[in-house]
């Protein structure tokens, strides 16, 4: 299955970016083969409004079923939830170790946002 992880860099050894909407990159990894695809989020990073919503839409487009990040705000969560994408928060370490942690069942899915919206 495909999972999306927010990342500070473009490969599996990059650190997880704790932000979702304004993460540098979002890496979509196949948990079986470790094949991955990089979403360049740089344009969205400086978005005027709605960064979380746009990033959530991009994650859905890539067919990811799970998003793992540090913090996910209410609008991003609502968007992902509508598309049936599950969200796990509080990730740290590298993208690769996060995939391993996920496969080892170390994440629990959240049922709501874990960060305040930005005004």
């Amino acid at each position: 299955m495909k999972i999306a992880i927010t990342s500070t860099g473009k490969d599996l050894d990059a650190q997880v970016d704790p932000r979702f909407g304004r993460a540098a990159y979002i890496i979509v990894v196949d948990t079986d083969t470790l094949d991955f695809e990089v979403i360049d989020n740089s344009e969205n990073k400086n978005a005027f409004k709605g960064a979380g919503i746009t990033a959530a839409s991009a994650v859905c487009d890539k067919g990811a079923q799970v998003l793992i990040t540090g913090f996910c705000g209410p609008n991003a969560f609502k968007t992902l939830d509508s598309a049936g994408v599950k969200v796990a928060n509080d990730a740290t370490g590298t993208v690769r170790s996060t995939v391993e942690d996920y496969k080892a069942g170390k994440f629990t899915f959240s049922d709501s946002a874990n960060a305040e919206g930005h005004w």
């Binding site: 409004k49 979380g52 959530a56 968007t79 994408v85």
Partner: protein, 286 residues
């Protein structure tokens, strides 16, 4: 004639000037409180509210059976108020600015508008001056879109010869909505570095709108002469200076009009109106 009273910085005395100007004139007038996030002119004027009208803002509603998930709506929305997520289309009514853009660009005509309650407009009458009318907007708690409520309050304009608008502070959309199309902007400031900083922003906004303006310096004697120097440099007339006076603060704290506590101010505010009238007529003649 429509006079809007704005400031840039909050707490400089917009409402003090608006309510006392209103109470000093015998003219056929109305006061509109457009500071819809926290209208407070009513505290000083005690209007008799006789009518209440709901304000709704149109927000998009998507017919999923017609939608092809082409994302054109999402691309045009600057505020992220509509998003395609997988097979779902999500809307965020609280982010929507009601521009209707998503509806226009939708090739399948899958988007229609539905109303969302955002606030109330109240109207009534004033005792001072006799026969004057009053209107105010109240943005509903939790809502952030003030301009549609302000525009509804301003629909009341034109029923009287003179309209005085108490504008919100700042220089963003709500202030523009309150000042746009008025004949004169009276800027109220205080002679402090904070007052000057925000006044400078407000003056820039007024210039963009090409409306004649003048200045009231409240709490004069406090701070420094930065505002006076700025006004001189920018050629903005200082129409009134209200001194930093404990008696004025005391009346304000009790919700009492300045012209009632210190009746000599009635002539001063009448004089302010005469100066504004002259400036507006001069602009009209030019």
């Amino acid at each position: 004639m429509i006079i809007s009273i704005a400031s840039g910085k909050g707490g400089t005395g917009k409402t003090t000037v608006a309510t006392n100007l209103c109470a000093s004139l015998d003219a056929d007038l109305m006061l509109l409180d457009c500071d819809v996030e926290e209208p407070n002119a009513h505290l000083f004027l005690n209007p008799n509210i006789t009518e209440e009208k709901k304000v709704n803002a149109p927000v998009p509603k998507v017919d999923l059976s017609l939608c092809t998930r082409c994302k054109k709506c999402m691309e045009i929305c600057r505020y992220g108020a509509i998003a395609v997520a997988g097979k779902a289309v999500v809307t965020f009514p609280e982010l929507c600015h009601s521009c209707g853009g998503c509806m226009v660009v939708c090739p399948e005509k899958a988007i229609t508008e539905t109303d969302r309650f955002i606030g109330t407009v109240e109207t009534g009458s004033l005792g001072l001056p006799e026969g004057a009318s009053f209107g105010q907007g109240l943005l509903d708690i939790g809502q952030v879109m003030a301009p549609p409520v302000i525009k509804q309050v301003r629909q009341l304009e034109g029923q009287k010869k003179l309209t005085i608008i108490d504008a919100p502070p700042g220089t963003s959309c709500p202030v523009i909505a309150a000042m746009k199309g008025t004949d004169f902007v009276l800027l109220v400031t205080e002679p402090t570095p904070f007052g000057l900083h925000d006044l400078t922003l407000a003056v820039e906004a007024v210039k963009l709108l090409d409306i004649p303006c003048g200045l009231v310096i409240n709490r004069a004697g406090l701070g420094n002469d930065g505002v006076n120097n700025y006004a001189q440099k920018e050629n903005i007339p200082i129409l009134l200076e209200i001194p930093f006076d404990k008696r004025i603060a005391s009346a304000y704290s009790k919700g009492e009009l300045l012209v009632r506590a210190l009746p000599e101010y009635k002539e001063i505010f009448k004089g302010l109106y005469t100066s504004i009238e002259a400036l507006v007529n001069r602009k009209g003649a030019a």
